[in-house]
Symmetry: C2
Subunit: 368 residues, 2 copies
């Protein structure tokens, strides 16, 4: 009998491969990994909403990881919020991992604030503003370390789910995609409902110019592209995914930032692409201000799928507002929702997930 | 049919529990973890042979880890050696992991030299000379981080093997065992054939005095004992083991250093002791200059078992010399040998392991 994709997951690109991928991971055992980092790029006014204000974005990845492990943050009070007070998509991931428990690993690509959790260290450091053209140090080292870690994890589970948490990451995604020669203009997503494409394009153009590298030099060396205009999440995420995907399927949990990671993987080792899929949220795949499919289709035949999360009927304004296009994705929210459905053979649904999210929202946000 | 312990493993203490433990892990899936650290205590002349000279001991843990992952060291030429040129017991571990591959994880308790491998970071720092009485910082934080990591790993494998690499570790073991009120006088092992018990006792006495803590204060607070006269491997090793042993068996791979870790675990959470065993080498359990059984029997009903490694018939002087009591144990050599036998249902033997060790010895040492 052919595998039936549940209504709560929409195949959005390379559908046949997406169906196959889902069949391979259905009812299988996964581990969830999150690669975290900070980049000064997030502090350019107007770039990121992943923190109450630009300085607060330093704490967002660390706080997200504490939320996953402990159900609450330790390095900040409450949870990470946007400037308008909307809670982190980490609440979605945390709720998914609660309904379908799996081992959690954090890879520290380079953060300013360390989470109160164990981290797989890849000798990375926090990233600079990409307008310097020298945003990241030691990308290849981080890639290599993470590659080794991915291979170890692959020996222990059937598949891996890899998310990210790095404020400002869609701007650096535009940077690396552009540097690698893809047309990502106007296509990367944003935590804001109104996508500041012009600002991002200007920041990226400035960074590429400052790098002093020719378009050819950037295009042919993914690590150079990351070091010029990327962020410290990218190389270790690419290494971790590539190392695991040598032997097991990997669900890349994210939107256009993960598309940039996919582009890096293609440059580093295109033999693993068959083991990859992108899993994100409906808010990304239905977003009119970005174009995930338009990016991925330039990179390879990798399936894109979305968890049909819908908060329009939520009891809470702070969740309903996700339907207006604020936040959209992060901390592997969409992919972890898909993984929770897969791990439970479809017992977890977008509806049961929203119930769990609301429970956690009550506890963490509305009572504060 | 009762489980038959192979001739290549000797049960040395709490034999019935040892047999049960082996039966539980036989043919099961394991991960190997190594907790590494550095302590200035190793540089006290005469304390440690885990490096060509005291300064070289900084590199030993990092080099050992590279050996496990890559089959060769990266941060040094060749492999770690004793002052007389005898190679690290990491060659035994590496060979065991080659014959019975399992995922490898490194926990960085606090090192001076970082290995070229991914490390699980627990926010530890390298340790001071225990004569300061303030040898370790943030022991409880490292314990907590590692506890979380141990719980994650336990979700992915049937059992865990945990070794250590920290030069000077038997002196700090004496320190913590003494601080916790155990009689370890003349009982801890040594990398030297002639065990410098008097020197160690003097160093420990000095450290305990300098700590300014009363015997009661030390005895009742394992983390205070570690911070006073321990090393940065101990707290994360104890946390990692305790976290995993909440749900799965853990083979503590080591000699008297692991006995000190066991004493810490007993203080922190004695409900997990039933899931623990100590696995070491025949060179430790037959050592006349130390008394592992005498220590463990004071702590709890935890089984001790030894891999009957015997290098007396080796073609190489550098391996034969292990029979004179040099080195004896380290990097979880004995426990990883036992785990290799268990993982292969006894197909790996001390004989086949010696063949593999000699092969690696040829490649790494004799041709240099």
């Amino acid at each position: 009998m052919a595998f039936k994709v549940p209504d709560d997951i929409t195949l959005c690109l390379n559908e046949d491969r997406g169906r196959e991928f889902l069949e391979r991971i259905w009812n299988k055992k996964a581990a969830y990994c999150c690669v975290i980092g900070n980049t000064e790029t997030a502090k350019i006014p107007g770039v990121s909403a992943a923190g109450a204000d630009p300085a607060a974005t330093d704490f967002t990845p660390a706080a997200d990881m504490e939320l996953l492990y402990f159900g609450r943050c330790k390095c900040i009070d409450g949870v990470p919020i946007t400037p308008s007070g909307i809670p982190t998509p980490g609440i979605i991931t945390m709720s998914a991992l609660k309904l379908a428990p799996m081992p959690i690993f954090v890879v520290n690509g380079g953060v300013r604030v360390r989470p109160h959790v164990p981290c797989i260290d890849v000798d990375g450091t926090a990233g600079d503003d990409i307008r310097t053209g020298k945003a990241v140090k030691g990308a290849e080292k981080a890639y290599d370390r993470a590659l080794v870690a991915g291979r170890q994890l692959a020996k222990m589970v059937d598949y891996l789910v890899v998310g990210e948490s790095i404020p400002g990451g869609t701007t650096t995604a535009l940077g690396v995609l552009t540097a690698l020669g893809y047309d990502a203009s106007g296509k990367v997503a944003s935590t804001f409902p109104v996508n500041p494409h012009e600002l991002k394009a200007q920041v990226v153009a400035e960074g590429i110019a400052a790098s002093g590298l020719s378009p050819e030099a950037l295009k042919n060396d993914a690590m150079a592209a990351v070091q010029a205009v990327g962020d410290p999440m990218m190389a270790p995420a690419a290494g971790l995914i590539a190392g695991a995907a040598e032997s097991i399927p990997v669900l890349m949990a994210g939107g256009t930032q993960m598309a940039a990671v996919l582009a890096i993987i293609r440059s580093m080792d295109d033999t693993v692409l068959d083991n990859l899929a992108l899993g994100t949220t409906r808010w990304i795949t239905e977003d009119k201000t970005s174009d995930l499919r338009g990016i991925v289709s330039q990179i390879g035949n990798v399936p894109v799928m979305a968890a049909n999360l819908n908060f329009s009927l939520s009891r809470y304004d702070g969740l309903q507002v996700y339907e207006t296009g604020l936040v959209k994705e992060g901390v592997g929210a969409g992919g972890s929702a898909i993984a929770a459905m897969a791990a439970t053979g479809g017992k977890v649904t977008c509806r049961s997930l929203l119930d769990e999210i609301e429970k956690n929202y009550t506890r963490l946000v509305s009572r504060r």
